[in-house]
Structure formats: structure tokens, C-alpha cells
Amino acid sequence: MDFATIVELLDSAVRLGTPLLLACLAGLFSERAGIFDIGLEGKMLMAAFFSGAVAAVTGSAWLGLMAGVGGALSLSLVHGMASITFRGNQLISGVAVNFLASGFTVLIAQSWFHQGGRTPQLSGSGRFEPITLPGAEAVKDVPVIGQLYDNLLSGHSILVYVAFAMVPLTWWVLFRTRFGLRLRAVGENPESVDTAGISVVRLRYTAVAITGVLSGLAGTYLATGLAAGFVKEMTAGRGYIALAALIFAKWRPVPALGATMLFGLLEAISNRYPNIDLGVVNLPIQFMQAVPYILTVIILAGFIGKAIPPRAGGQPYVKER
């Protein structure tokens, strides 16, 4: 494998890892606030559809982005009402959100566009086009550094850069601001937050809304950046891989970057090399596809470090009367 191939693989890892990263950070806000969210898949799918549909009709990727985020936010609201206001089972609500998105997107897509549950092909300003970073053209022939800059760093759509910027931003918000401290506290010990006179309900709704925005970006990137339009079930389990990455990263933003890029790289490798012959064993493509899930189970089992979720995760908060 030569250097150019490696750069190409890494480049495609970044592309494929970006929706995972956005969805993973989305889940991070919610779960850090004590709201389990297995509905990331559904929110991404909803965002992918609405961004694809609106971008196709208006020809503007930015309007698509707003619609995508709106779609994901509406499901966030459903999940928030179920888990915060009505103190229902958050896992069941997540399952419902996923099915709601899976059915609703196809139903509406068929009704609006009559193309068998897809949206029209996007082109031009309907997509988030790759951005060439300044000087990429000039340094492209410089060995190694130039190649890396031109092929790996430059030439992604704006949402990729936004996703990467979200990592330090999330870290800063969670660990360096008052809001972040409260958000983490409400996921560990909501009683203490309540005692301090801060509204648990409002904090949790805010967290769930941030989850909606970020998973909206993830879905929008799928339909308007990675692909050119929405197709039925286009998230293809990415919401669950993001959930796996979140556990892998032990609910921390910087490791989330590492985990999602690792999973992105695995996908890139299995796309490029369906069978990997290691001499002793031949790894089939199906194994490569299952690796993120197997790794997550191993991590959850605590054989490589222990993944401990936020303590109040999954429990509805009942204010003392």
C-alpha cells in the first residue's frame, strides 16, 4: 500500500466518520444530562429526508440544513416530552422515534416526490460542495505534507469542518462553562441540581434540543454532503454505530473524535477491500462490518477499561413533594 492510497483511505475515513462524529456528540449531550437516546438513528434519518427534500425544492443546501435540523428537533421534542415531562421509558421512546422516522420519511417522500421514497437528485447549490482550503492547489506537489494538506485536510464540505470544530467546542462547553457543569450534574445527580434551585426540566430539555441540532447536522451531511439526496433508510445503522462510539469514548468529546474516526476508517477499509487476507486468516467483509459492534460489546463488558454511563441516565426525575 503506497502513501497515496493511505491518504485516500484516511480521506474517506474522515468523510464517513463525520456523520458518526456529529451523531456521537449529539448523543453525548443528551446522555450526559441523564437522557438515554437510542433514537439518534431516527433523528438523523428525519434530518436527512427534510434536508434532502427542501434542498431539492429550493435548490439551497442552507435552507435544507435548516429544514433538516428542524426535522431532527421535532423528534427531540417527542423524546423530551416522553422522557422528561411524562417520565416514560426513555429506551422505549427511542425505539418509537426510530420507527417513526423510518416510516414517516418514506411516506412523505412518496407523497411529495413520487420516486419510490427518495428525493430528487441534488446538484450545484443544493449540495454542500467541497471547499478548497487556501493554498491547497499550490502545495499539492510538495511530498507528504502537501499531499496531506491537499487530499486529507482540504476538499471537504463545510459540515465536516463544523463537525471537527464541535469537538473542542463540546469539550469547552461541558467542562469549562457553568452550563456544562450543571448539565453534567443533572446527569449524575439531578437532586443536587434541583436543590441548588436550577430547573432539572429546563436543563434536560436544553440538552435534548442540542442533541436534536447536532443529529440534524449529521443527517443533513448524509443527504447533502456525503450523498446527493435522500434515499430510504439511508442512515443504515449509523445512529447505532454513533451510540457504540459514544460508549467506546466513555461519554467524552475528544475520545469521541477518535472512536468515530476509527469506525469511519473501518468502513472506508471495508469499502475498499471487501476481503482482507492476513495470510493466516481471511477476514470477510461481513466481519469488518461487524467490528464496531463487537468492539463496543467488548468495551461494555469491561475487558478493556470500564465504560460507566452517567449515573442518573435513563431515570426520570421526580421532584420531591
Binding site: 418509537a96 461487524a290 460489546v297 461494555l300
Partner: protein, 365 residues
Amino acid sequence: MEKTPKWIDVALIPLLNLLIAFVISGIVVLLIGENPIEAIRVMVDGSLGSPYGWGYTLYYATNFIFTGLAVAVAYHASQFNIGGEGQATLGGLGVALVLLMVPWPNWYLALIGAMIGGAVFGAAWAAIPAYLQAKRGSHIVITTIMFNFIAASLLNYMLVNVLRPRGSMDPATARFPAATHLPTFHDMPLIGQFFGKSVPANVSFFIAIVACFLVWGLIWRTRLGFAIRAFGRSEPAARYAGISPVKIVMAAMLISGALAGLMATNNVMGEAHRLVLNSVEGAGFIGIAVALMGRNHPFGVFLAALLFGFLYQGGGELALETSIPRELITVIQALVILFTGAFDNMLRGPIEQFFVARANARKEA
């Protein structure tokens, strides 16, 4: 505090929640420019209006009884088994292996073998998440989700690389020998004359009904069932009473996985006569809706499975006869899960308050 009458919990609230789910689905149908009344007519006509329709409705219902019971048994031990899909997938693998590797002389011996194969494979697939939950505290919801995906990859591998007959391009096993084909409703005495040759409903429907009785007996009439319920209500109390959490979680999940695996006697052995990719078609997830709707009681599961069987068959007819895609059923399913599961407290609070207030007023009068 006054207790509200039982019928409110088991009948009124689920029915009201179901009604809300249907009303919202009706609004969705209106939004996409179709007539909801006409949609209901097509669905009822297509699923209940003819023996042919019933043959499909009961076939789907059989799948959902198994997966619904699977979710319900685990739920009694406060375990949310979201892995029915993967367990039923593996059950299919077990059934296929048993039927292809043993030269069965007739269908009933084959059925016994297939039931064992399906149940063992399904239980085995539930065993690892159960063990990790019981021993290492790994959240069972996440591990069972992961195992669904691993099961899909494993089945894909087995079908493409191992079980595919030589020369075939189709990722599927060879056809099962004719001797192992289960009698369908058409082949049965008394009822056979009503059903056409092509109906897929078969003897495993009756096995599903037997499974309902057995699960009822297990949960409410055995020592293990008592321990499962005690553990499900309060883990510390059960532990204090000397009930081993590891044993209960393992037992409940193994039974749950076995029930999900048994589904393969219907869809793989009874209908497809071979194992194909994605043979479960989401029935594992519908089990969640069925168990929620049926309040985790076998009789409730049976009724809810019939309802979903009707929805599935009706949804198929809907896609054929109108321009409403069959994904409408996914929306209805999502709304049923949402309202009977996650939004349960929305109606429960006000309704219970109303009945308590009424009971108190009566006492004072």
C-alpha cells in the same frame, strides 16, 4: 391511596392509547392526500375479509406472538430485550441447519428437531448479552442492539460463504426437503376446505398458542416465574430473599431468546422453506410493540399479535390497492410503541386521578 380498578390498567388505557395512535395515523393519511376511511376499508377487507386474508394475518400473528412473548418474559425480569430480531435471525439459522443436515422422515419429527434448533440458537444468542448484564453490568439494551447487527453480519456470512448451494447466486440456503414442509391451514382437516393452497399460516400458529399457555404457567404458576417477577419488581428485595440475580437474568433471557428463536419454525420452516437474508423482516422489533400493547401478559400478547398481524397484512394490501406505501404500518407501529410505552403516563395520570377522586367522593357521600 385508593387503587384504581384493574380494568382501567389492562383495557381502558391501552385502548385509549391505541385510539390516539390510530387517530394520528389517520391524520398522517389525510396529510398525504388519501382517505383514511377508505384506507381502513381496504385494510380490513384485505386482511379479514377473506380466508386468504386470514391465512396471511394469522401467519404474521404467529411471528409476533413468539417475539411478543420473548419481550414479555424478559420484561417480567425488568430486562428490556431489544434483541429479538437477532435472536430470531439466529433461530432461523438453527432451524435451517437442523433441517438441512438431518434427513427427517416426516414433518412432525422435523418440527421437533427444528424447534430445538431454533430455540437453542435463539437462546445462545441471548446468552452472551444476558451473561454480560448479569456478571459485568453491561447494559442489556445496548448489547442486544449490537448483537442484532452482529447477527445480521453473521447470517450474511453464513449464507454467502457457507450455506449457499454451489452455482447459486442467491444468498440463501438450499430448499428444505419436501418431507419437512409443515402442513398449512389448507392441509388441515375441518378448516382445510376454507383456505386456499397459497395461505402461509401453518401448524406453528398452534405452537404459538401453546407457547402462550406455557409462558402464562411459567410466569404465574412456577417458582422460577415467581422469582422472575420478584426480581423484576425489586432487585434488592429479591436479593434479600435469596434470589440470585445472575440466575434470574440468565433464565429470563434464555427463555426470551428461545421464544424469539422459535419464530423461525413459522417464517423459515413453515413459509419460505429455506433461509434467506433478512427473513425476520422486523418481527423482532414488532415484538416490543406487541408486548407493550399486551401489557406483557400472554393473552394480551396474543390479542396484540393478532392486531399487528391484521396491520401487516392490511398494510400489504394497502400498498397494492392504493398509493399509500406500506411504511404507513411502520408509522402506526411507532405510534403504538410511543403512546402505549413512552407516553403511558400522559393518560394514566389524569385517568387515575379521576377514578380516585370519584371513589373518594362516593365514600364521603
